[in-house]
Symmetry: D2
Subunit: 447 residues, 4 copies
Amino acid sequence: MARHSTGRRPDCENRVPKRSHPVSQSLQSARRSGALGESYLKVRNETLALARGLSDADATVQSMEDASPAKWHLAHTTWFFETFLLETQLAGYQSFDPSFCYLFNSYYEQVGARHPRPRRGMLTRPSLEEVWTYREHVDGAMLRLLETEPAEDILNLVELGLNHEQQHQELLLTDILHLFAQNPLRPAFHSPEPLAVDEEGPAALSWKSFDAAMAEIGHEGEGFAFDCEGPRHDAIIRPFKLASRPVLNCEWLEFMADGGYRTPTLWLSDGWAIANERGWNAPFYWEDRAGEWQVMTLRGMQPVDPAAPVCHVSYFEADAFARWTDRRLPTEVEWEHAASLHKLQGNFADSGRLRPKPPVAGQGDDELLSLFGDVWEWTQSPYTAYPRFKASAGAVGEYNGKFMNGQYVLRGGSCVTPGGHVRATYRNFFQPDKRWQFSGLRLADDL
Amino acid sequence: MARHSTGRRPDCENRVPKRSHPVSQSLQSARRSGALGESYLKVRNETLALARGLSDADATVQSMEDASPAKWHLAHTTWFFETFLLETQLAGYQSFDPSFCYLFNSYYEQVGARHPRPRRGMLTRPSLEEVWTYREHVDGAMLRLLETEPAEDILNLVELGLNHEQQHQELLLTDILHLFAQNPLRPAFHSPEPLAVDEEGPAALSWKSFDAAMAEIGHEGEGFAFDCEGPRHDAIIRPFKLASRPVLNCEWLEFMADGGYRTPTLWLSDGWAIANERGWNAPFYWEDRAGEWQVMTLRGMQPVDPAAPVCHVSYFEADAFARWTDRRLPTEVEWEHAASLHKLQGNFADSGRLRPKPPVAGQGDDELLSLFGDVWEWTQSPYTAYPRFKASAGAVGEYNGKFMNGQYVLRGGSCVTPGGHVRATYRNFFQPDKRWQFSGLRLADDL
Amino acid sequence: MARHSTGRRPDCENRVPKRSHPVSQSLQSARRSGALGESYLKVRNETLALARGLSDADATVQSMEDASPAKWHLAHTTWFFETFLLETQLAGYQSFDPSFCYLFNSYYEQVGARHPRPRRGMLTRPSLEEVWTYREHVDGAMLRLLETEPAEDILNLVELGLNHEQQHQELLLTDILHLFAQNPLRPAFHSPEPLAVDEEGPAALSWKSFDAAMAEIGHEGEGFAFDCEGPRHDAIIRPFKLASRPVLNCEWLEFMADGGYRTPTLWLSDGWAIANERGWNAPFYWEDRAGEWQVMTLRGMQPVDPAAPVCHVSYFEADAFARWTDRRLPTEVEWEHAASLHKLQGNFADSGRLRPKPPVAGQGDDELLSLFGDVWEWTQSPYTAYPRFKASAGAVGEYNGKFMNGQYVLRGGSCVTPGGHVRATYRNFFQPDKRWQFSGLRLADDL
Amino acid sequence: MARHSTGRRPDCENRVPKRSHPVSQSLQSARRSGALGESYLKVRNETLALARGLSDADATVQSMEDASPAKWHLAHTTWFFETFLLETQLAGYQSFDPSFCYLFNSYYEQVGARHPRPRRGMLTRPSLEEVWTYREHVDGAMLRLLETEPAEDILNLVELGLNHEQQHQELLLTDILHLFAQNPLRPAFHSPEPLAVDEEGPAALSWKSFDAAMAEIGHEGEGFAFDCEGPRHDAIIRPFKLASRPVLNCEWLEFMADGGYRTPTLWLSDGWAIANERGWNAPFYWEDRAGEWQVMTLRGMQPVDPAAPVCHVSYFEADAFARWTDRRLPTEVEWEHAASLHKLQGNFADSGRLRPKPPVAGQGDDELLSLFGDVWEWTQSPYTAYPRFKASAGAVGEYNGKFMNGQYVLRGGSCVTPGGHVRATYRNFFQPDKRWQFSGLRLADDL
């Protein structure tokens, strides 16, 4: 019932310690500072390009607790730069609107109180227009900050902020899809035009084998990575094989036809309970329209493409499917071991397709097709800390570590992940019942 | 969890039987037809004036299940004319958009399936702009229909549609207030300017006595009334007295200070349970700001005016307050008996105040101040059918009768009721726990 | 989730003021005192006879929030005498166990805190055996109290306590039926033996007409009545007719066959929502067993008897049925007006049948068959205060008044009501969605 | 609301395939058969001894969905033998009551439909007495079966059944404690007598270090183990240290005093949400009684013993505590590595203490005190399948594998675990919010 919010506006100071930096900055820092300035503009403009077609209303409504309004994504990513950088690092910075600290904090306890997540859709003010102005205000200040050639740790925060923004670019798309799927009109985010179903049949399934090994996984060294991707550490590889491509819609249809959604012994106990409670009988967004399976996409309702990777399935479904085939999901160690030498290319958001693409043999650099892009691939690994993992100090340490419970790792990125955002060590994570992300699966098995 | 709607669009035909009318229309009908055309434009334009300041987002979000988005109100009232009049009565009428039949039906089972009430806020499309166009489309057609000088029953439906629209004008205001109260920024719907607290003290309380009588209540004869206002019938009046004005905020503050919200013996059992569960300790929209009670209004946060009628209290609170004073709420029979000879004037929405006004002795025509307007007055009468009540035939018969359960009658209109909409026989009704309407109370007692 | 109770044991003193009585008691009081002693033993022993067959476990489990464990009924009715009489009126009375004041208070706020209603089934201790001992302890003391020939107001409280106990006798039966119906074994409370279905067909339906009148309803004068049965007052009778018998199962089966449970226009809006949410498609306790309708009864699963009154229907169902027949439910005024001269006999609990009996023409004293007993008859009247009703002073004033919200009045008693408990003015009341009571209906209509 | 169960009684045949065994049984099998007969009687009698003091009501009520009634535990363990052994392996076996197959199946989908878990407490019939008779019936038959010197796979099932029964012995105690804690009388399951608080102060904390190693963990070879304890496999040990004893109540009190329950940065995000929602401010069963912390135990309310291991804390609390100390929980690999050479002794249920005992230096065989018994120790390891784990074939394969989601591993057994039941490889598992088990923690850290 109507528990109206209290209007309490917290004092948002003291969120990160003011730091003093050594006066002389290295040349390297200057170069990096310049490069980051370019990246900054590029990433921020990509967000603009993405959200440009949304109306004020499209950008304001929250379709479920898991999702956020597009406007909130636009403002929160901006708040990140303002809060963690401008307010402490840019002398004389004037905050755009002090109330935004409360409105657009996501979950940083150390920054202070925040607007409750399930009520993000109540904010018809500020308008989308005002949020664009907020972004311009912060962008101007950020560029001024970068011109000061700030210290490494500041530049690291900028880089974190840009990767953070890219994550929200993907979420903006998954959340808009969810919102539009709630509308009986099933509006399209982009025109459906370039998505003719491929004429070739689905790619054949083969397996790539891997020998026993002591491998190393996790991030180390140069290049950006989130804290949870490290420390790099040894891991035992037991002989296994990995499917040459993700599971396809045509295979999923067989699973359905064989009673996959009605056979309790295929399912984890929790999954079976949820599948029944929620009446699952097909992947999320699938609709049976007069006997034809269609699927709600960012390009409106479309026929299900049998040759494309199955998408919008939960971990519980992926796990049940794997059991049905008498195979299993890979561990994240196995996945990363297989991916570590793989070329980092695939169908990402910058292709503009915004739907998973049927894998075609011969397109990749070896026999693992669609390893990156298309659909996030569920692994059987719970999202836990790597050995000797320590969360970063300060509020940004809340970024990943506190979510290490009840979630599973997904790997490889999807067709709505910004190009260049993921890498072999990248760990995405969601609860096993979530289906609104672009999540699919690739089979593995013991050798 | 995300149960996305099925996209099923019902066949909306057959909703009301096509009727054939006699060719010759009486002069009286022509006159009435003309008058209704004027009323039509007036009422429809008042809606426009009311909602003009809302953004696309303001008009789209649904703040709770009880409330509807402004855009939905604008479209639903239009749907009413299109569905019950144009589609069956205007030859060659072209429906604006066939999907609107599903989207904007409120609760008319006989018209067909409809978009679920709790999901009205998911409709970011059609946009507010498109809804304005929808209204223009229907307005043009309605004026054409009225020019055909249609039969009495058609004119009756037009009149019903206009009164229906006025009800939604009030709901649009109560729902926007609720939405804006969810926003930590507490935006104002109208500027706060003309609402200085009156300097005179609160109006003194006196009582007006009524003798035993056999009275008649209910609507009969000329002029519009909703079906539930009749049939007119005898009712026993037992000697009673009625307070000269509604209960004021200053009196409510005394109730609070005396532990009114913490004393179970003052409350109905259901009310006590709900008051505790929801943490009630003051009227809805009141906030304690550093020791000062403020209240969210259509003009933003304002100090509570001690001399104004208390507003936004539930039946449970009103009943507890009356018990605290050792008085009682009036029955609807008593209220109507007292009001039947009273001048129909007061602080309605057309005053532009949009807040209850302190009653001032001598302003009314007799000693019952603020009987109409300011705040709806809870009566102790459950909303039931009058003797020999029959709901109208067809879908419009669902208007009132099927809601005759679990609600109490309120009388007199409020400061957000359109001027000219209510009358002495008018029965408003809400569940006893509802607080977002402009509801207050007036005390009564036995003699 | 596991919110364990706090173990707080309230101070149970001060619950009713100690009163001093005049020394000399009238002879009348002595006589009444003696008569009440006999009644006391009779009623208390009837409870014993009723519950004798229950095991410790049967008597302990709570099958839903609306129901209470048999043990709780046994203890609470005893607590009533202990709390409202012995502790203040019997010099030197030693409380059986001070913790029982907390455990067995139902809803008397003025007596103090109490064990939460939904957790009554957690009390495996005290055992059923201990509760029987508790009853003996209190019975002994009560008889000693009655020997002191106490004052009228004390005797009134004893009488209230006995009527209270009878109400709980009925509830004990309805609650045991509900409990046993949860058990897949469907155990029988009593042997099924005497319940052969009658061979004669169902009694024909006729109507009894009543003229317009100014009637009096409500209790006044001698004999016990609950406070809510008064004050006696005038009421307008409009010409109406009343069915000669309750609605029968054979008629209900027609309603079902005609889609009664699938036709929204027959239902109140709230009722339709609940019927769908809970999947109602037949009266409560009915089960389709291989095409035959059976019903869970206090004598185990039995075939539905077409000639018997329908039982275990909610107000919502009764109202929908009446609308299906194009009739209506009677008001409580009409019911009482018709019943006021009727012989107070029928199939009550003391018949031992414990199921509604098919009405047989000629058995009653006039043409209203089964008016008393068999099934409680829903009226269309919300349970409200009669004009000038004042609840009794002190804690017993919480008995009825505070429940006057959201309930409807039922009249006439049922086959599980103790013989001699009801009368023409008796008002039972339940929420419109409740079905576990022995509730049916009788049709009425305007003349 | 009252959704009464359907009374459907499934066909319980075909639950396990009838197997034919070779006629000649090895001598080894005969010996094992005899030994198992003795074990059978011993374990079954221990259950009897445990539950002997419970009343019919104590044994029937279900205090929450996570817990089961004692009667259900007694019947379900018996059902296990009847279903998986007698009905298919003992020629001419007469089932005790065919309805028990439905009533007492826990979660074996392959055996058929079952009484819903949350409604186990509705079964007041069969009575406790009848369940004891059921046990005798099955015990007689089981001994006859064992006299036939059945094949290995049958004997394995008997052994599984006995270990299964021991698990339910522990659950019976945890569930009775929970039930008694719901009763404001806080009854004691056993007399409080032998539990004087130790006079010596709490054991000092020291650390035992472990070098890097390639270790083996998991069960292999002789002796019973559950399927999830294997296969035995390599695991990398990184240098770490383990606390010499579990965390004690005195340390937990410091955590509380330091605001541990009010500091979000100590908590996992899910844990913080749950801790707030449920109002956690101390371990489960702790009550502040006039400023003294007491705890509900199987021996009634007792003062919290500062020197004893903290008990009834969730994973979320254990994890927050570890973060507060800047240490961490051990992984299950580390725990098992440390425990593998440790003497398997400790304070188990057969000590009769039924409460955790303060660890005393010098009592163990090395510096890891209370490693077994006292309290289950949360590890940081999600409960997942070991490499190459395959669930057993048939219905018993549902024993463990399908629960491998959303739970954490606990190790070492508790003061209510039957003596001889656990071992170093034993994996217990519960969801991270559960607190009614005897769960505590031991700190670890990296070296």
